[in-house]
């Protein structure tokens, strides 16, 4: 499962590095959700492909972007760049889980419909 998780995270990173639209990660979440075997798995996979790529990107960019992060944090009336990062990661993680879980649910409904 760990290897599978790492592969999904890497695919998510590659997609986001190469795609211009931010929502491609959600499309990937949706695909992952359809491929999941249970609600728990869809939540888990939705979490990792949303959470880790953004976290890693923020970690990599943090040092060179501190001024920018502080400025942008101020736009959202946040006191620090760390809060902005936490807010951003929570934002994408929730969306990713939601899309993944809903896709799994659709799959389940389709299966139920066939029976």
């Amino acid at each position: 499962m760990i290897i599978k998780s790492i592969i999904f995270i890497l695919i998510s990173i590659i997609i986001q590095l190469n795609a211009v639209n931010w929502f491609n990660v959600l499309i990937f979440s949706s695909i992952i959700g359809i491929g999941s075997n249970s609600y728990n798995q869809s939540i888990y996979l939705g979490f990792i492909i949303g959470f880790f790529p953004w976290l890693l990107q923020f970690i990599i960019k943090y040092k060179e972007s501190i001024l920018l992060l502080e400025r942008v944090a101020n736009i959202f009336y946040l006191n620090s760049s760390i809060l902005l990062i936490i807010f951003s990661i929570i934002f994408i993680t929730i969306l990713s889980i939601m899309v993944s879980i809903s896709s799994f649910h659709i799959k389940k409904l389709l299966k139920n419909g066939k029976r």
């Binding site: 400025r71 736009i75 807010f87 419909g113």
Partner: protein, 820 residues
């Protein structure tokens, strides 16, 4: 499959799509969160966008290679082998740092802000279109098409900007485009004119005609002239007193027998005080310790980030010039070249007049002028509004300019704060605006020629192109100093344009322009120095009528006092003068305000404050509380003096300038204007002063100001972001200075550029502005100069005609791969 299941699936799909759509869209002022927060493609993608390029850049549009050297302040020094490449590179490099600011200003000027902001910006858009900024820009664009030098200059400049834009994409577009969610458009010379006309609006956009016409309904001319004298009592003019003007053939038209009296309430044109004031001065070599002339300048404008100015050094085979320019305009607006140095302050000529237009009927197809009906022109303006329906507005044009106001239903729609006071009127009337910036003028030619000027004659010839807005140009070369009240205002009869004019009567129409050699100017005066601080150009000897209002002379008095008392001036003495915090209004009236009060009449708290201000040294130092007390006190006296007679200050109502109050305080303490006509007793200045003092002590203690009333806290200078995006400005700056000090730093205005140039060999060039070279908020060069600007420091600016003498990061813009 069950219908219920199908329905559920559709709901879930719709929900997911909605999530994507919602977070991909700007909602109100919130950026599209998904797009924006994405660390791969959103704002974080720009982290390194401000880094200087490491390698040469290939730009095929160039004809030859261009060298760029960025110094420690990030000022680009551009070395080109020809003029076309120079302006191309200027556009390219400027766009690299300030593209969003440049374009945003054009969008505001053109009345298209609602395309970005939405319906909330429609009123200001309509106002900007109706006053004719776009109209003026198009006229100037047409006019310069015959001027090949400027036409080519603007096209090269635009091409440089467009080359930068073409290399952008959704990921790399500047931060504000991501926040506001739009994309840069192609640049053109028209956009440069929009910026220049918008600057003209900032500097000449006063419409006090409305307020004066209200006064004309209330008072006779004698009273108006008493309250609003054309020449104030303490005038310290730009052209030294007692200078004679021996112009030949001065032809000034006769005024009408009586002035047309308009009803000002029937429109909602705002009375907008001018928000540009400035200092500049020049010192001759005889008064300079360096035995070379000195020029100092600090134009005071609205302080914003990105900064109003952008520093640049331009070099080609004909010119070598350094200074600042307005982002979006080619060349250098203020600075020096190898031979001369120059600087401008706002001239305050009245080049904006309003006319009542009498239409034949509601259709507004014809209007009455010179005993005949004339056909109007109409232009339908289309407003694309973000997330809303397209709006159309028809603007009617007459020979007096665009009709800014017409029917009552449009009153509120053209940017008025309120329709207060408006009342129904015969529908077939309107009010047109004649503004000199509507004309097809070519001010860029002035700066082009000044940038290339070798001597005084070149400079004077260059000024002939300068029309609007009127500016005081200070000049120095190695041997000469000069000051020109430049601009080409129309010849007017005395007080023409002070009140709303009669659009039917040709007498109210503008005449020819003042001849170039008749403009107020002086060269190498005996006194050895010259200065301007937006005050009256002359003491009344000048034969032409220029305006009813200039800025009070308080700053000018201090500048001239310092320049005349010191025997030899140094860089330090000039810098000290720029940062001088002596409150000249206080110096003039505070002793009278204090003398008016008998300390035995004061209670304990009042006495405490009174003792403080009594011992004040008139210095608006940020750590002192006395400037705050004085500011509250004189404003209260001002209010108590005028409000009962003239009404509350609003868009229709203005009070006399502060130098009128100062005159009354100094010389007429029993004036009837001090008497409150709503009381039975007859008050004089002493009563007003005491009452005002008691009132402000209450204000101070009721608002708990006593713990935070140091002048720096009370004044609290804010440098806001140009689009008012929170977090991208610098607020709560703790500053000294004020409205009545040479260091005219106030809440939102201040020295937008401070510079001192000594015409030594090599030149000593100093400068600073409140901001930084970069327009990118994530850059350390976005606001790196602000704290030093607050402290009054100046930076050394590198200047040489040899690129190898400039220290910094160097690259080449190359036209082909093997170019070098």
């Amino acid at each position: 499959m069950k219908i219920k299941n199908i329905f559920s699936i559709l709901i879930i799909l719709l929900f997911n799509i909605s999530i994507i759509y919602f977070f991909n869209t700007k909602i109100f002022s919130i950026p599209p969160l998904g797009k924006f927060l994405d660390p791969f493609n959103g704002y974080l993608y720009l982290s390194n966008s401000d880094n200087l390029p490491k390698n040469d850049i290939l730009l095929e549009q160039l004809t030859d290679s261009v060298t760029i050297v960025w110094d420690d302040l990030r000022i680009p020094h551009i070395f080109s082998k020809n003029e076309s490449d120079l302006y191309f590179a200027q556009g390219y490099i400027m766009a690299r740092d300030r593209l969003w600011q440049m374009e945003f200003q054009t969008i505001v000027a053109e009345g298209r802000l609602s395309e970005i902001i939405g319906i909330n910006a429609l009123q200001i858009d309509k106002f900007h279109r109706r006053i004719g900024i776009k109209y003026g820009a198009l006229n100037s664009l047409n006019a310069i098409k015959n001027d090949t030098i400027i036409y080519n200059m603007l096209n090269s400049f635009s091409s440089g900007i467009n080359t930068y834009i073409e290399n952008l994409n959704e990921r790399t577009k500047p931060l504000e485009y991501k926040i506001l969610d739009y994309y840069p458009e192609k640049w053109s010379p028209y956009k440069t004119f929009l910026i220049l006309k918008y600057m003209a609006w900032t500097l000449s956009g006063k419409s006090s005609d409305l307020a004066y016409s209200k006064l004309l309904n209330q008072f006779n001319l004698k009273t108006i002239n008493e309250l609003f004298p054309l020449i104030p009592y303490n005038v310290d003019p730009i052209i030294p007193k007692n200078t004679t003007f021996n112009f030949k053939d001065v032809n000034i038209p006769n005024a009408p027998d009586s002035f047309y009296v308009s009803n000002p309430f029937q429109s909602s044109l705002l009375y907008e005080p001018i928000d540009g004031f400035s200092n500049n001065w020049v010192v001759s070599k005889d008064l300079s310790i360096y035995n070379k002339p000195i020029i100092a300048s600090d134009p005071h404008l609205s302080l914003t980030l990105p900064s109003v100015w952008y520093g640049m050094h331009l070099n080609d085979t004909n010119q070598n010039v350094i200074g600042v320019t307005i982002p979006g305009a080619p060349g250098i607006i203020m600075g020096c070249n190898d031979s001369i140095a120059w600087a401008e302050t706002n001239g305050y000529d009245d080049v904006m007049d309003w006319y009542d237009i009498y239409f034949k009927d509601k259709s507004m197809n014809e209007y009455y002028y010179d005993n005949d009906w004339h056909t109007t022109d109409k232009v339908v303006e289309k407003f694309h509004i973000r997330n809303s329906q397209t709006f159309y507005d028809t603007i009617t044009y007459t020979k007096h300019g665009p009709v800014v106001w017409d029917y009552d239903y449009q009153t509120l729609s053209i940017g008025a704060k309120s329709a207060k006071g408006s009342r129904p009127r015969q529908a077939a009337m309107g009010r047109a605006l004649r503004w000199q910036a509507h004309d097809g003028t070519n001010e860029i030619r002035t700066f082009y020629e000044i940038n290339n000027a070798k001597n005084y004659n070149d400079f004077v010839n260059a000024l002939e192109w300068f029309v609007c807005p009127g500016q005081n140009f200070a000049y120095v070369d190695e041997n000469n100093i000069s000051m020109w009240h430049a601009g080409s205002p129309p010849i007017k009869w005395k007080e023409q344009g002070r009140y709303i004019g009669d659009g039917r009567d040709p007498k109210y129409e503008w005449g020819e322009l003042i001849p170039h050699n008749h403009k107020a100017h002086i060269k190498n005066p005996k006194q050895g120095f010259l200065s301007s601080a937006n005050q009256h150009p002359s003491d009344g000897e000048y034969p032409y009528y220029l305006s009813e209002t200039f800025w009070p002379s308080f700053r000018a008095i201090k500048i001239n006092e310092v320049l005349s008392t010191s025997t030899k001036h140094t860089l330090e003495s000039m810098q000290n003068l720029q940062n001088d915090n002596t409150n000249m209004l206080a110096l003039t009236i505070l002793p009278h305000m204090i003398n008016a009060i008998n300390s035995s009449d004061l209670n304990e708290i009042e006495y405490k404050l009174f003792s403080k201000i009594k011992n004040w040294n008139y210095n608006n130092n940020k750590n002192l509380i006395e400037p705050t007390i004085f500011d509250l006190w004189y404003n209260k006296i001002n209010e108590k003096t005028w409000e009962d007679d003239l009404g509350k200050r609003d868009e229709y109502t203005m009070w006399p300038q502060i130098d009128k109050l100062s005159e009354l305080i100094e010389y007429d303490k029993s004036s009837i204007w001090f008497d409150n006509k709503h009381t039975s007793i007859k008050e004089n200045f002493d009563n007003i002063s005491l009452n005002a003092f008691s009132d402000i002590v209450k204000i101070i203690y009721q608002n708990n100001l006593e713990n935070q009333w140091q002048w720096g806290n009370y004044q609290e200078t804010n440098i806001t972001h140009l689009a008012k995006i929170p977090g991208l400005g610098e607020t709560n700056l703790y500053t000294s200075g004020g409205l009545w000090t040479v260091n005219a730093t106030t809440k939102e205005f201040g020295p937008s550029w401070r510079s001192i140039i000594i015409m030594d060999n090599p030149k000593i060039i100093k400068g600073i502005y409140p901001g930084g070279q970069s327009g990118f908020p994530g850059s350390k060069y976005y606001d790196n100069m602000i704290q030093d600007w607050v402290k009054g420091k100046l930076y050394d600016l590198e200047f040489s005609s040899d690129k190898n003498n400039i220290n910094g990061h160097k690259i080449n813009l190359i036209s082909k791969i093997n170019d070098n």
